[in-house]
Symmetry: C2
Subunit: 328 residues, 2 copies
């Protein structure tokens, strides 16, 4: 029997091998394998592990690997853990379920900040319009629009939300930030709690959604709340599709209250071919690409945390530990 610590990797829709290679290099002396349903059905195979590294694992994986007391932590290869939390997690002998740890930036903050800044820049400065006219061979000189007329609201002030808020500040936008409990961010007017949400929205013309998806935030951006944005509002959704009520967003774009939207996340991904977002002239669709999980950065962070745990660190000391009661 192999006594070295074992890490099991389970990610749907990706080739495991390049990830295993990096993990093995980062964790010398560890056994690092991929989980496959076929392998899992083999009674002779090893079905327990000390650590799991996952992206959108199936319930069958949890049922097999998380029912062993050997499992010490599950690392998610992304910042959003809504899908992971919503699986059925076994509780062993009344003990709490295994700790879940999400990515803590690992190169995602910078990607998110630059994606959002380019979306804001292009909207405020009408570069999308200018480029479309250029493609027609038109020199389309336009009256400058002032950034003071485009205050930006950021929903969600975790690692990514704060990074985005500060990047927008560095380009001299007025930034309002909202989170469940108010935070302090230099140069940003912050608001906390549901009662403060609509007053905050009413001060913003551009809205950037970076909330975690929970029971409280699902469908948060409905007609009532989106209508609170200043006229000519613009919505950038880089969190989860289920935060936005699709029909309400389209209705407000069609009524003219909203000027446009740049959407990177959807209730169903890939966005179904017949979805209204695809052809809407005021909507830009991107394929969940605002912040990609970077293999080396992510696995280096996860390997570091595994080594800290192996050296006796308390799991509660790890950045990115998920609070299952709040859902993120």
């Amino acid at each position: 029997m192999n006594s070295s610590p074992r890490v099991v990797f389970c990610a749907t829709h990706t080739q495991a091998e390049p990830w295993l290679e990096v993990l093995r290099a980062q964790l010398p002396g560890f056994t690092v394998d991929a989980w496959h349903a076929d392998h899992a059905a083999d009674p002779a195979a090893e079905h327990t592990a000390d650590y799991a590294v996952v992206w959108a694992p199936p319930q069958a994986f949890i049922d097999q690997v998380a029912t062993s007391e050997r499992l010490k932590a599950v690392f998610n290869l992304g910042a959003g853990v809504d899908a992971l939390v919503s699986l059925r997690w076994p509780s062993l002998k009344g003990a709490p379920p295994v700790p879940l740890i999400r990515l803590d930036d690992a190169g995602m903050g910078t990607q998110m900040a630059e994606y959002v800044c380019q979306a804001v820049t292009r909207h405020v400065r009408e570069l999308d319009v200018v480029e479309a006219q250029s493609r027609q061979g038109q020199w389309a000189f336009r009256k400058p629009r002032l950034r003071a007329d485009f205050p930006v609201g950021v929903l969600g002030l975790g690692v990514l939300g704060q990074r985005v808020a500060l990047a927008l500040r560095s380009f001299e936008y007025t930034v309002h930030g909202w989170s469940r409990s108010a935070k302090q961010i230099e140069g940003v007017t912050t608001y906390g709690g549901m009662d403060a949400l609509e007053p905050m929205l009413s001060k913003c013309r551009i809205l950037v959604n970076l909330l975690p998806l929970t029971d409280q935030t699902q469908d948060l951006l409905n007609k009532q709340r989106l209508s609170k944005l200043m006229p000519g509002g613009y919505v950038i959704n880089v969190a989860r599709g289920a935060h936005v009520v699709d029909e309400d967003l389209v209705a407000l774009l069609d009524s003219g209250h909203l000027a446009g939207a740049m959407l990177d996340v959807f209730r169903q991904e890939p966005l179904p071919a017949d979805h209204a977002f695809w052809k809407h002239p005021k909507i830009v669709v991107t394929p969940h690409t605002s912040s990609r999980t970077l293999r080396n950065e992510s696995l280096a962070q996860i390997a570091q945390k595994i080594l800290r745990l192996e050296h006796g660190a308390d799991v509660r000391s790890l950045p990115g530990l998920v609070d299952r009661s709040r859902g993120y």
Copy 2:
């Protein structure tokens, strides 16, 4: 005769009145008028001024207003003074020509930084491709490209170049900066002088041009120098069209050595309808919009400088004083 200081405003292609209003509000007690060729021909009119505020003035304006010893300074409503310097300036009684003062940021740095950052982000992350595919209803998931593979070079490290270099650094790009004489910028590898230009270019995959246009920098970006960029190079020109040899740029795009270009400035503006840039599939044309002169910010800065001179300040103490011998 009116003894109050007089400011004359001369800007082609713009309505003078809104600018005069702001200047008058900023300079109470001053006489502030616009210069018109008709008015200039009227022998009864006042043809001298203490200060001139100009954008692309005709030679006739210089011939009339700058031949008076009364003129203390000419303020340019932009950062680039190549057109202004190349006019014929009278020298009075052997004294040096009147001081020229260019805009010193005045809101241009932030605009330039966000324009360049969005251009870099979109190229590195292929958002242009992704959006084009989205317009066709395609969910075009692409392999992430790493920013480490896209070192950026910034040519020209004045107020705007430094602002751009630092903004790119804040998004974790590797940044190389080149200027006539080497400068120190935190986090940026800097190079100075012509001998260092090609070695610097060979380290860059994206090139941002922010040089002043002078005899030394005209046609600087020719085939020899642009071929020094890493394969798959990308050129962002936000300085002056005459820095780039148009045919050489097109040839390197067509040969495949360069992957694309985003061009905001041209040898002739508006870019002529039959120019090859318009329809080139690897070129994005924008209509000299990367950094617009903002009326309030610019005139507030100029009025401040005028008031400092009126209170006895030495013109050499003003930021933005042009060195005619170097041309910027």
